[in-house]
């Protein structure tokens, strides 16, 4: 089956990101395809390029990148939720006159239309809230 995950919880604030990651790994292990993880609300902080958690703790950002690399999962970030929280890719940083950027590939800033599309095109959309 084709799955998508909607993640609304901030990393390290609540369990949602860990739950979503565990579920993501389990579903690909069962032979399903995880098309996209969509990061929305405080979940956009999962895309923070500069996240540097202690080395003996799970690195959520790296874990999402690894998932994307291994399984071709798209990592889509709601652009409106991201920009107001200081999460900008190089293009948005330039557009807003900011030095540096905090989001980079494979994370991509997209619109809510992508989320609607996921709900329509995937067999299952599973939400992990805060």
């Amino acid at each position: 089956m084709r799955y998508a995950i909607l993640l609304l919880g901030a990393p390290y604030s609540c369990q949602a990101s860990h739950s979503a990651l565990r579920f993501a790994r389990a579903l690909v292990d069962r032979g399903h395809r995880l098309e996209t993880v969509f990061f929305y609300h405080d979940g956009v902080h999962n895309a923070a390029r500069l996240a540097a958690p202690p080395q003996d703790e799970p690195h959520l950002v790296d874990a999402w990148v690894a998932l994307s690399t291994e399984h071709g999962t798209a990592l889509q970030v709601c652009i409106a939720a991201a920009l107001r929280r200081g999460l900008l890719d190089a293009r948005e940083a330039a557009r807003h006159g900011k030095q540096g950027h905090s989001v980079e590939a494979p994370f991509e800033l997209t619109g809510l239309g992508q989320l609607v599309d996921l709900g329509l095109s995937c067999d299952r959309l599973v939400t992990f809230g805060p």
Binding site: R124, V126, T127, G129
Partner: protein
Amino acid sequence: MLLHILNRSPATSRVYQQALVSMAPEDRLLLIEDGVQGALPQLVRYFDGLQGRLFALREDLVARGLEGRCEASVQVVDVDGFVALTEEAERTVSWY
């Protein structure tokens, strides 16, 4: 049949009430994260009427030292079983 997913304990949040009134007679409820507290004998009464349709996630029970303390009527599933439940349901609804 829908799979409802609840991540709040009925002892600390009333969102379980919204889940219950939204559930159709054949729908299932999976307790995850702090929601697994609802599988304990002293709290499971909040889910009366869900016999055979109430599940709890093993990994979250273990993380809280609650494995083996669940009411016998609650079906304990691991994350692989969580995925299986989503396969069997038409859609999932998350309550938080």
